[in-house]
């Protein structure tokens, strides 16, 4: 556990102000972390945009309410996605959450003559399919895949963000990539 505290001085100041009830300070904080957190929300929900928004919204309100319990021993985004993760798990437990199976779409292989728009749509569909596979990983694996593969953070940055050692991040990444590869292979026909 990194005990040096991974919160930047700017965030620290904003957290202080948010604790005193300054909405604008809280919103500024959210703004600088929202993409990483939303990326995680998208992966955790298997690419369900609407659900990801709902869960993120709830998590942010819970974060605002609980801002005084944030001690700054991890980054603000790391703290946020812990809340988001708990909200999502609670949601999955209570709501009748039936995970949609990826549809067995029989698309044509992309060829050079396909118009750009078609190609973009295809990419979106495939990305959705990939997110559904990512959602099947453990939450810990999803976290590292989101940060490194979707948010392009370096191993060092992830270590700083999550208060994990660099070695631990590396081994988790290796394991997560291996599991994702197995899932892709198992579902290879969906990528046709």
């Amino acid at each position: 556990m990194n005990t040096q505290g991974n919160i930047s001085p700017v965030d620290k100041e904003l957290v202080e102000r948010a604790r005193r009830g300054e909405i604008a300070a809280f919103e500024t904080l959210v703004r600088s972390h929202e993409t990483k957190v939303f990326s995680f929300a998208l992966n955790i929900t298997g690419g369900d945009h609407e659900l990801a928004q709902d869960i993120m919204q709830d998590a942010l309100i819970h974060a605002y309410r609980g801002i005084s319990s944030f001690r700054g021993d991890c980054s603000f985004s790391s703290w946020l996605w812990r809340i988001l993760k708990n909200d999502f798990l609670r949601y999955r437990e209570h709501a009748a959450f039936s995970r949609e199976e990826p549809d067995n779409r029989k698309g044509n292989a992309v060829d050079d003559h396909e118009p750009a728009v078609e190609l973009a749509i295809m990419r979106q569909e495939r990305l959705l399919l990939l997110r559904r596979l990512v959602a099947q990983l453990s939450i810990e694996d999803q976290e590292v895949i989101t940060l490194i593969e979707f948010q392009e953070l370096s191993v060092d940055e992830v270590a700083a963000l999550t208060a994990m050692s660099i070695e631990a991040v590396k081994s988790r990444l290796h394991r997560a990539r291996g599991r994702l590869t197995e899932l892709v292979k198992k579902n290879k026909n969906l990528f046709l």
Binding site: I23, F38, M56, R123, F150, G178, N187, K188
Partner: protein, 239 residues
């Protein structure tokens, strides 16, 4: 899966984390040319790698509506905390954003001598038109000139309008009573409704405190895509 396929499968996993040597690539290509199963796995993995390479971090930026909704909810949250009174006690499903969600306000005045003493049924206070498709957040605002305890605010809905909530039980309610204290100054009690049927519907709100009953009516006239919201008169009378 035969032995050769197993070897290729292991090589495919390797290909995800490192560049293959020309020899490895050659044997992979050769095998895939005659084995559709391995070829499909190879293609799927290449697609995955390409998807992740083309994905930019900013592609996952949340929509701006999320910020707008958050702002609205934070303001509500702060108002509730400042008022030190319980929230509605229901987990209202959040409505959409400021852009699509009209904020309607029913003003109520308690013991405000400066407020004109109008009270006839049918007097129109104001009128506005909103989008029928979206949930409407209605805020009942009470301005009190002194702290009031044990106030009950009952919200009654006509058929054709319902409370907007995750909870099915709440959606089927026709009436909901909020109990709480009001502080000096402005107090807001928000709730969200949706119009389900065309036609004219009413929302009746009634606050009881001390020896008075305070009524406000709102009329929603829903046609096709719009709702005309009419704020009808308020009325204060002894219990």
């Amino acid at each position: 899966m035969d032995d050769r396929c197993r070897q290729i499968d292991a090589l495919l996993t390797e290909a995800m984390t490192r560049e293959l040597s020309p020899e490895e690539r050659c044997s992979l290509d050769q095998h895939c040319a005659s084995c559709p199963d391995c070829a499909a796995a190879y293609r799927a993995l290449l697609t995955t790698r390409e998807l992740l390479r083309n994905h930019r971090p900013e592609d996952d930026a949340p929509p701006t509506i999320l910020r707008e909704n958050l702002h609205r909810r934070l303001v509500e949250e702060q108002a509730q905390q400042a008022g030190k009174r319980p929230a509605l006690g229901l987990r209202w499903k959040l409505a959409f954003g400021v852009s699509v969600c009209m904020l309607l306000t029913i003003l109520g005045y308690f013991l405000m001598p400066a407020f004109p003493d109008k009270g006839d049924e049918g007097t129109i206070l104001s009128r506005t038109t909103v989008d029928a498709k979206e949930p409407l957040t209605i805020k009942i605002t009470y301005t009190a000139d002194r702290p009031l305890t044990d106030v009950a605010v009952t919200i009654r809905l006509d058929e054709g309008i319902s409370f907007y909530s995750d909870d099915e039980k709440l959606r089927s309610l026709r009436e909901y009573t909020w109990h709480g204290d009001l502080r000096t100054g402005i107090n807001e009690i928000p709730f969200v409704v949706t119009v389900e049927r065309m036609g004219t519907h009413r929302i009746r709100t009634e606050a009881s405190y001390d020896d008075y009953r305070h009524r406000h009516d709102v009329e929603l006239q829903a046609e096709q895509r719009t709702v005309i919201v009419t704020y009808l008169s308020y009325k204060k009378r002894p219990l």
